[in-house]
Amino acid sequence: MIFGSLGDMVIKLSLGMYIYSILAISIGIRYRDLKFIYSARLASYFGTFLLLVSTITLVLGFVNHDYSIQYVADHSSNTMPYIYTWIAFYSGNEGSLLFITTCLSILLFLFIQNKKLNDNSINFSHLFILLFQIFLLISTSVLANPFTEASNIVKDGQGINPLLLHFGMFVHPPVQMLGLTAVVLPFSIVIGSLCAKNENLNLNSLRVWALSTWIILTIGLALGSWWAYTILGWGGYWAWDPVENSSLMPWLIMTAFIHSIMVQQKRNMFKGWNLFLIIFAFFMAQMGMFINRGGPVPSVHSFGSSSLGWTFLLFMFISTTFSFMFFIYRYRFLTSVNHVQSILSRESLILVQNVLFLSVAIITLMGTIYPVFIKSIEDEQIYVGREFYDLVNAPILLLIMIILSIAPFVPWKNANMSSYINKKIIVFVIAVLLAILNSWIISGHYWVTISLVVLYFSSIQIFIELYKIFKASFNKFKNLKNVLGKFLNILYSNLSRYGGFISHTGILLVMLGIAGTSFMGIEKDFALKPGESGTLKNYQFTYMKTDITQNFDHTNIKAIMQIEKNGKSLGQYTTSKSYYPKFDMNSTKAGILNFGLEDFYFSQSVIAEDNSAVFEVKINPLVSLIWTGAFVVVVGAIISVFPVYKKKDKLKVK
């Protein structure tokens, strides 16, 4: 079969295409020749096409069981259902690299659409994206080529790792990888503009790309935690594992970034700070890719060590060093006339928010690399567990939450502290009363109450603002249809703010869920013989029996529980564990029952010969708020980024 050689050839041709593109665009910029610029863009478009062809080729290789390709032999088998080809494609180093380069080629395609040819900020940005793309393609075609020929052709492939056969695996890795890769877009936009000596960079374009990247990263994080929660069996959703951290850190910095570019847009400030942030974000995103690909930090996640990891590390340091040199070189373009005038002002609070997010990112980074540091000094392999991060980051996250409920409602430039307090004190008191009432009803912990205070404080202010707008529309038009029309028109003209409100509310819901599970979660082990029952809070569960089934490639041990809540029977539920002898790996499936906000979670840890089993039983209050909240965050952000191009270039008065 020709898939291997075809794919290999097409990848290398696409590399050639991109090399031409970067040469052409350099000539076009240097000699102000639009023909070369256009030619470079066409080359990039064709590069996208070629990479798509190579992707399809690899897929065909899987579907046709072409074991002359080493990668196909390593990650699939004759009996693997076709649908798993999607997972098999990116589950290994080589395939995931091809996936990333293809994604980047599509992003580049979208980026250069409809952009003016003589806009050098775009052209320089194009150049920087190409640099990254070429690096990725060279790594792929030379160091980790998915089309490498197998040294001997096997009759049947290795099969796919059973731990990966979960619906979470269908969505989390591709989204996460896409997100990390996408960070190069806002990075290139900023650096590109500076190269073109245009410090009034195209903020609209930057905002769209920064927000879109952030949305993808958010979805990746949420999917990852949710997947871990359902599959790992310990009932938690975040363990501060090095790979988890490596996807969190870029997200944290991008969150800071999307807010501080707002300050640049509205007040023409923070230009240097924004450059620093996006360099740091890109650095972290590359760090994420590095740790994923076999860095020196052990984790449950790693793809497996390879020299590829160190190549990424090298590129990361080179790109960051050049960026910082550039920062110094172009510094005089980055100063502002405007300054932060008062501590209580929107730009000041956004700066505080930035500092807080960065602090969490840096502390997490320090914790993640601390074991590596100690290993090189004292040759001891230590481990920094989640307790450290929980303890240290929690207060900072609390401060962030509080700022979130204050900043959107504080004016730009300056605000008077006593008039602010006068205006908000009543809202605050009402929020506290509502929170106490709410907490009393759900028997909430102190920190749940505090989260509720912040949630209500923010929500009431949002409600008041919307109400005022509605009332103003009402005063202008008496007809209800016109009032609604006017109201929606005003919302539509400021989608970024109102979308932001939705996202903020979503984040507060997530925080509430985290507070609930962290402080009100209950966990206990039960050693039960078949027929025995246990009780935890208002749940009663009886261990019925264990079914052991031998499948052709794994042994499945399924325990059945009869569950009752508040005396009422809910039926039988199962938790299972599968052992795959070929891979010497276990995969668990926990039993999760959801009751609105709360989850009843149980998984088996040990089964003895007499069929007695040890169960970990956990009650996670408010956990559903985390997933719901994340969804709300994404919806809000999508609304916020929605193209309202016509209004953007004009300052407006309604």
Binding site: I363, F388, T449, F519
Partner: protein, 134 residues
């Protein structure tokens, strides 16, 4: 007037209730165990505490800890015993003394640095503006 509101603020915040009592559902020993199991690393796993891991080794360690808690051992005594048997690497949360104190100082340093960053951005720009506007 300002002071009045600040006092009100403080009083109201401190009144936000705690309606939740974990003692209703778990005994003191069980609570201690939950805290302790997060602090012990699973010896054979690459990056998990015994709380997260479902290996047999972890289970045995968990049983051991539960036993010793019931026997009246203090948290420190349990941890020291485990360190003597497995080495310092058994601890998942670095101790707040010795060389690991460095890790605990980092957050404080970072936050102080953050304040410094905020203040510099606040002051530097202000300083430069004064020069330009006159």
């Amino acid at each position: 007037m300002n002071n009045y509101f600040i006092c009100l603020f403080i009083i109201v915040i401190s009144l936000t209730g705690c309606f939740y009592n974990i003692d209703n559902d778990l005994s003191a020993n069980e609570i201690r165990f939950l805290n302790l199991e997060k602090q012990i690393k699973c010896p054979i796993c690459p990056a998990e505490t015994i709380a997260e891991s479902n290996t047999k080794v972890s289970k045995d360690l968990k049983d051991f800890i539960k036993l010793k808690i019931d026997e009246g051992w203090s948290d420190d005594k349990i941890k020291s015993f485990l360190i003597s048997k497995y080495g310092k690497e058994i601890l998942a949360t670095p101790q707040k003394k010795g060389s690991d104190l460095f890790l605990w100082i980092i957050p404080i340093v970072v936050l102080l640095f953050g304040v410094f960053i905020y203040w510099s951005l606040y002051r530097t720009i202000r300083f430069r503006t004064k020069g330009e506007q006159s």
